[in-house]
Structures are given as structure tokens and as C-alpha cells.
Symmetry: C3
Subunit: 341 residues, 3 copies
């Protein structure tokens, strides 16, 4: 694609040779003369000087000599669109593979792809545009809206409900039995039947090998626009508000409610039966043991305000010094240091 | 079911209209006039006032006006039984699906269900009542007792032994090769063959995508009644005592032994080659780096007694104050504050 | 196998009865008279006294009475070789199972095994000696070198490239879409297409249910000899240097680079866009939030030098004492303790 054509498609302003041919996108370090590049942070901007990228997407304020530029207001978002333009990954073709086991009572919308060895149970209903990759297992009575994509190895247990435009990466498990065991007095745990289900909103994306458990009674709920990274664990009875974004290996214990727009770094943990307000943000590895007010930004285990956590983290490293200073004070005062108290 | 009939089945005392029809169980917030509800903690008891539940399970001491009550001694346990009474999820039907690949030398007990595309290797022996869901792969020489349930996508590697009443949620991997690599001096790791196996006791439940590795030599052992939540990792050569309960995303490194009845919150980690006594409990995200005495309750990384951890967590937040107080003392004493020491 | 024959095969020096028959290897606690045993740490050496092992592998310096000994320079490495000698686990036999779906354009090297229900997409190329277990799904245009082993349930997404001697434990997902979402101003996240790929070097081993995401643009790279334990998460755009070893449940956020020979304990987390130098080591549960210099050994969250972390961990437990000592000093000085400051 000529650079001027690309600029027009992306709504960007061209600064340089319009006739350059662009055939792909690439990171700035490896981009060649036929690639469009972009740097996401100032940290990488100096790489641009030595880059041989054919063209670079930048915002309107950047000054750069000797490179073809495409200027726009939100270069990160426009670069994402550019990736899509050049995305030529092989895609499955409409049709149900002969080896798939589709129950007589299952219904598929128009344009569906069902790959080899996929299993669709009794009364499964999938909306138009479904892409069921090989080896997906959908238990009975599952219903999904338009454009449901399930990658290889996904398992959706019985009765789970999914909205439109849901994408599940390989190995996602939806509706596994929640972890519910009660002591019976003889040291033997009684398994609480997990007879509830899971409901997933629209435009939800779940990462590889992430698991969302069904409720014992009622529903585990993921709102619209929820994005979960890989290896995330959502326990039975949780409610995730719209546009919740949880990074990899985060876990949410049973019956906890996250308000709309909660965001976490990786490996965060939430205790059970908590109420986390809208817009709460958690740094990576945060351990949330109590309710959190809307809009708070927290870190640490147990979670505290991130500013306090940063100050304390710095001071924690100075504990050896502080102990020495206190000992010196004690010596100066001759009060002695009774460390047993 | 009429409420008086339900009360009788549950062994509960009816207080209210015996003729009410109950058709299901539900959380108290969403329960309707045909639902039985229950609240697990006092925190939720005020919800009962505005609930339109048809009936509520309570213990013998609770005073509540205007609701049909079922009174009993252990309402949580009785509610679990009630969930089971109304659990009408679709169940697989006895029989081996035509597409399953079952080795000639494999043996199945009575009443087995084997779903589409399941693979049972040479010399696999499953006891009566097995439920092998679609896409389960059982490698050669695996043996399991009665009522073995393996959900879709489960993989059981060669020679793993399982007791009676074992249930594996989707994506569980048993008997994957342990993580054993030795330095060889050229920076290249030598892979230690993992020729041992895994033995699982009776009444064991493992959560979605949990992994239990086979030993290099000998056996990785899970005792009777062990319950592991989702995404748990048990490394090669570990021994988990009877009735161990590990919450989600907990990991146990190689050759560590957990005594009977150990319980953890989510995301705990145990170092390798440790001895953890019977009945030890760990708060969420605890990092256990040394042996722990029976009955201890620990938290933090490195793990300490939970009472001490709580006190220190509170004081940690007051470090900025403490540093100021020490500086003030130093000024008062005119000893100066040599922060380099 | 006679003990003298075994000694010769292992290059070890025999001290004892050459005619003893050894039929297997075992941990020292459970080894019987026909087993070869070995203890990895001094901690376990006293177990040897009560062991009934047929023979024991020891280094040249150990003094032990009453046991047949095989002496060598590196008993741990030699024991690993011994495990391999006696490893009689059932192995798959060459051939493509009739039920496998192999695209016409896929190519398989000599000696390949392809198990039941495996799916090999268009233009997949596997080198000689491939072992594709049942239920492996390989998307189109994947290429792997010699001796590629993929266990049941592995999913390799489109265009991923793998070197020689790569082994994937069950449930590994390679090339899942990276976690890339951009805010659009209406609270709705825009999914960045993940059109890049994953490249894996030679002699790489990945543990059960581990996930490695494809890059948005460019490549997520794992160097030669990389070993990842179970449930590890490598995000899009990461680069792992040769011989990186990451223990279970560790996560690396997007675009972070680990130098050669980095080693971590379990449950470590790395933030995004970091540079971690060669040979860096991290204790379990370390949270790395910034760049780390080559050769550093770190612990804690945020990560600090492990020596400092150990000192601070000890002092942290003494905070209750320190607060009391400061209060006593304040009283002695009659400055009062204004805890609000």
C-alpha cells in the first residue's frame, strides 16, 4: 500500500514521500523500509533516530528529521488500526467440519465456523458469526450471542450464558464448579453442589487458561467490556462490573463484587465477600483484604493507598538505619534498650 | 415442592405456611416467592428484610418477622443439601460415544459414560460409575476407582493412580513432567527424566486448570479428601496430607510435605523441601520459606504468626510517622541524624 | 541389571557387592533392596542410615558403612542419568492415527507420531521425530524443528515458530492473543489486533498450562534452553534470553526483556517494559517493578537486593518493639509523642 493511501485510511497527515510502499507494521527496533512503526513511550523515542522504518506514526507535536511521518492525534490508537489493516493471519472458513459432534437440538446462527472435533451439546444456541475452533467443548444449554469466538481447547460448562462479541483464548474454562466445601465435623468436607451458572456480557475478552467458576446458587457475572488476561481466576458468585480489566494471574475469591472500570496489575488477589468500588486501581501483586472505596488506587498486602505504600516501601529499606539511630538515641539517653518489651 | 415436604426432606423445622411451592434455591438478593434462600453471614442478614424469598433457612436462634422460616442447627450445610435437591443440571447418560478411542486393553466399570473424542490408553482401568466427558485424554496404565469424574479437557498422564470419588474440573493436568533441570557446566540444563508418578486418594476434588506434576522418582501424593481450587500448582515429589484445602493459584514447590488438614487462602506459595505440620493455616498470598509447626496460623512473606503479621502490617503504615518521631528525638538530643550509618 | 554393569554404564566407582540386581531407582525413604537411591541434600543424609536401598549414589567424599555405594563426581547428574536408564514409561509408536485431521498442505518429518484427534492446520511443518499426542491442536503455518513433543491438550496458534527439541507439557498455549486494549474515551476498550507471533528456540521445555502470548507486532521470543515451569505467563512482546529458568506461576508483563540465564523462584512478577540483566536471580514471590542490573539477586515487592530484603524482613517483625522503644525515648525526653505528625 502506498503511504498516501495508508495515511488516508488511517486519517493521518502525511509528511514525506507519498509513493513509498508500506507492506506491514513492525516494532521500531526491527522495522524495515516497507514497515510502519510507532513508539509507545518517550523511553523508546531515541530508537527512532537509528530506525530504518519506512514511516513512523507520531502525534502532532513531535519533531523528527529524516523520517517519513504520519501525524495524528492519538497515534497509539491509530497504530492499532494499522495493525488490523495489515493483519493477514489465516482465518477459519465458514462451515461445520464433518468430525464435529453437534447435538440435533443445537442451533447455529449464520456464517458459523465449527472446527474438527468440536462438541456442541444439547440445546446449545450460538448467534451468527460464531467461530468455534477445533477441540472446543460446549456443554448443554449454553447460549451465546453474535460473533462468539472460542479458540482451541476452550470448555464452556452447562447453561453458561454469553453476550455478543465474546472472545475466549485457548484453554479458557467457563462454568467449572465453584470451590465450595463445608466441614462436617469428621474432618471430611461436604461438597456443596454448584448448581448456579455464569453470565458474560458483551465485548468480553478472556485470556488463555483463565477460569471463571459457576455460582453455587445464582450467577457469577462478568459485565460488558470486561477484559481478563491469562491465568486469571474468578471464583463462584463474583460480580465484575462493566469494563473491568484484570491483568494476568489475578484472582478474585468468592462473592466479591468489583465495580465498573476496576483495573489491576498482574497477580493481584481479592479476598472473598468484598465490595470494591468503581474505578479502583490496584498495582501488581496487591492483596485486597477489605472493601475499597470508589476511585482509590491501592498497592501492597494488605492493600493501602498507593502513595502511602510507596513511602512505606522506601522507608522499609531504611529499617536497618532506623534501628541503629534508635539504639544510638538510647545510648545517649542511657535509658538502655530493653529489646524484650 | 411444598414447603412442608421440603422441610421434612431437609430435617428442618417449618415456621410459616406449609403449602407454599418452592421450585429452587437462590441468593437472598435475587430470591423470588418460589425460592428458598439462606444468608451465610450476619453481614447479609439485613438483606433478608427486603427479600421476597419464599422461605429462608435460618438457625434456631434467629428472630425474623414476615418470612417463612426453615429452622435447623447447621443452616449452611442444610442449604447445601437443598441446592442438591433442586440441582437439575443436565447429566451425561451411560454409554461410550462412538467417536471415543478406547484401547482394547482398557477396562471400564459398570455404568460408565465416555464422551465424544475421549481417549483411553492401553491398560487404563476405571472403576464403576466413571464419567469421562468429551475430550478427556487418559494416557496408558492409569487406574481410577469408583465414580471418577473427569471434565472436558482433563489430561491424566501415564501410570497416575486415583482413588474413589475423584472429580477433576476442566483442564486439570495430572502427571505432567516435574520441573527438573540440572546445570551441566556449559550453561545448558540437563532434563532430569520424570519417571515417577502421581497418586491421588479418595474424595479428592481438583479445580479448573490445576496441575499436579509427577515425581522424578517415587510419587507425588495427594491424600484422601484433598481439595484444590483452580490454577493450583503441586510440584514433583510433594505429599499433601488428608483433607488439605488449598485455595486458588496456590503453589507448592518440589518435595514439600503438607500435614493433614492444612488450609490456605489464595495465591500462597511454599518453598521446596519443607515440612508443614498438620492443621497449619495460611492467609492469602503467604510465602512459606521454612518449616511450620502443626497448628500454626501464618501470614506474610516470609511467613510469620498471623497475629504478629497483623500488628506489623499496621505499624508498617506508620513508618513515615516513626521516622519523623526519631528525627525529632535526635534534634532534641542534638545528636544529629547520620542517615548514612 | 547387575550393580557392576550399572556402575559401568554410569561411569561410577563401585564399592560393594557387584552381583546385586538393581531394577529401578527410588527415593531413599522408600527404596528397596533392588533400588538405586540418592539423596540430594545433607538434610536427608541421615535417612540413609535406615534405608534398605540396594545401592546408593554418593560423591567421592562420603563415608558410609553397610551400604553398597556408587561413587562419582556429580551424583545428582549421574542419578538423573540412572533415572533415564530405568525409565520404562509407555511411549507412543510412530504413525499417524486415523482420526487425526492433518491438512493436505502440512508436512511431517520422519518417524512422527500423531495421536488421535490431533489437528494440524494448513502449511504446518514439523521436523523429524515429532510426537504429537492426542488432542493437540496446531493452527496453520506453525513450523517446528526436530523432536518436537506436544502433550495432550497443547494449543499452538497460527504462525508460531519452534526450534529443535522443544517439549510442551499438557495444556500449554503458545501464541494466544496478547492482552492489548486501548481506552477510546467512551469507557469502551479497543482491542488491539495481535498480529505478531511467538518464536521459541532450541531445547525449550514448557510446563503444564503455561501460556506464551503472541506480540501485537513483531515477536515474543524465548531463547535456547529456556525452561518454564507450570502456569507461567509470558506476555506479548517479551524477550527471554537463553537458558532463562522461571519457576511455577511466574508472570512477565508485556515487552519486558530478561537477559540470558535469569532464574526465578515461584510466583514472581515482572512489570512491563523492563530490562532485566543477564544472570539475575529472584527469590519466590518477588515483584520486579524496575530494571535490574546483571547478576543481581533480588527479593521482595518492590524488589531489592536479597541481603537487604532479609535484614529488613527480620527487622519488620521487630516493629512493635521499635515503636515501644521510641515511645519510651519520647517519654524520657518529655518531648511527647505526637502521633499525628
Amino acid at each position: 500500500m502506498r503511504l498516501d493511501e495508508l495515511a488516508e485510511k488511517l486519517g493521518a497527515e502525511l509528511e514525506g514521500d507519498p509513493a513509498i510502499e508500506i507492506t506491514g507494521v513492525a516494532p521500531v527496533e526491527t522495522a524495515g523500509p516497507a514497515d510502519l512503526a510507532f513508539v509507545s513511550s518517550l523511553k523508546y523515542r531515541r530508537m527512532l533516530r537509528s530506525s530504518s522504518a519506512g514511516a513512523v506514526l507520531v502525534d502532532r507535536s513531535v519533531e523528527l528529521e529524516g523520517l517519513q511521518l504520519l501525524r495524528c492525534d492519538n497515534p497509539q490508537l491509530v497504530f492499532a488500526a494499522a495493525i488490523g489493516l495489515f493483519d493477514d493471519r489465516p482465518q477459519p472458513v465458514e462451515g461445520v467440519h464433518a468430525s464435529a459432534v453437534v447435538a440435533d437440538t443445537a442451533r447455529l446462527g449464520e456464517g458459523a465456523y465449527v472446527g474438527p472435533f468440536a462438541v456442541l451439546g444439547e440445546n446449545v444456541v450460538l448467534g451468527p458469526g460464531a467461530r468455534i475452533h477445533p477441540h472446543v467443548v460446549i456443554y448443554p444449554e449454553v447460549k451465546a450471542g453474535r460473533n462468539f469466538t472460542a479458540h482451541a481447547g476452550v470448555v464452556v460448562r452447562e447453561r453458561v450464558l454469553l453476550g455478543d462479541d465474546v472472545t475466549l483464548q485457548p484453554g479458557v474454562v467457563l462454568g467449572g464448579d465453584g470451590f465450595g466445601f463445608l466441614p462436617t465435623g469428621q474432618g471430611v468436607a461436604f461438597s456443596v453442589p454448584q448448581a448456579g451458572t455464569v453470565e458474560i456480557g458483551d465485548s468480553v475478552d478472556l485470556g488463555a487458561n483463565t477460569t471463571v467458576d459457576r455460582a453455587a446458587v445464582g450467577v457469577t457475572t462478568l459485565g460488558d467490556g470486561v477484559k481478563l488476561d491469562n491465568l486469571v481466576m474468578i471464583a463462584h458468585g463474583c460480580e465484575l462490573g462493566d469494563h473491568t480489566i484484570l491483568a494476568a494471574q489475578t484472582g478474585v475469591a468468592g462473592s466479591t463484587k468489583l465495580g465498573a472500570g476496576v483495573m489491576t496489575g498482574g497477580q493481584c488477589g481479592f479476598g472473598g465477600h468484598l465490595e470494591i468500588g468503581a474505578g479502583v486501581q490496584c498495582a501488581g501483586q496487591t492483596g485486597v483484604l477489605g472493601d475499597v472505596e470508589s476511585g482509590e488506587i491501592v498497592a501492597g498486602t494488605p492493600a493501602v493507598n498507593i502513595g502511602l505504600w510507596r513511602r512505606c516501601s522506601v522507608l522499609l529499606k531504611r529499617l536497618p538505619e532506623l534501628f541503629k539511630r534508635v539504639a544510638r538515641l538510647e545510648k545517649a539517653l542511657e535509658t538502655g534498650s530493653d529489646e524484650k518489651n
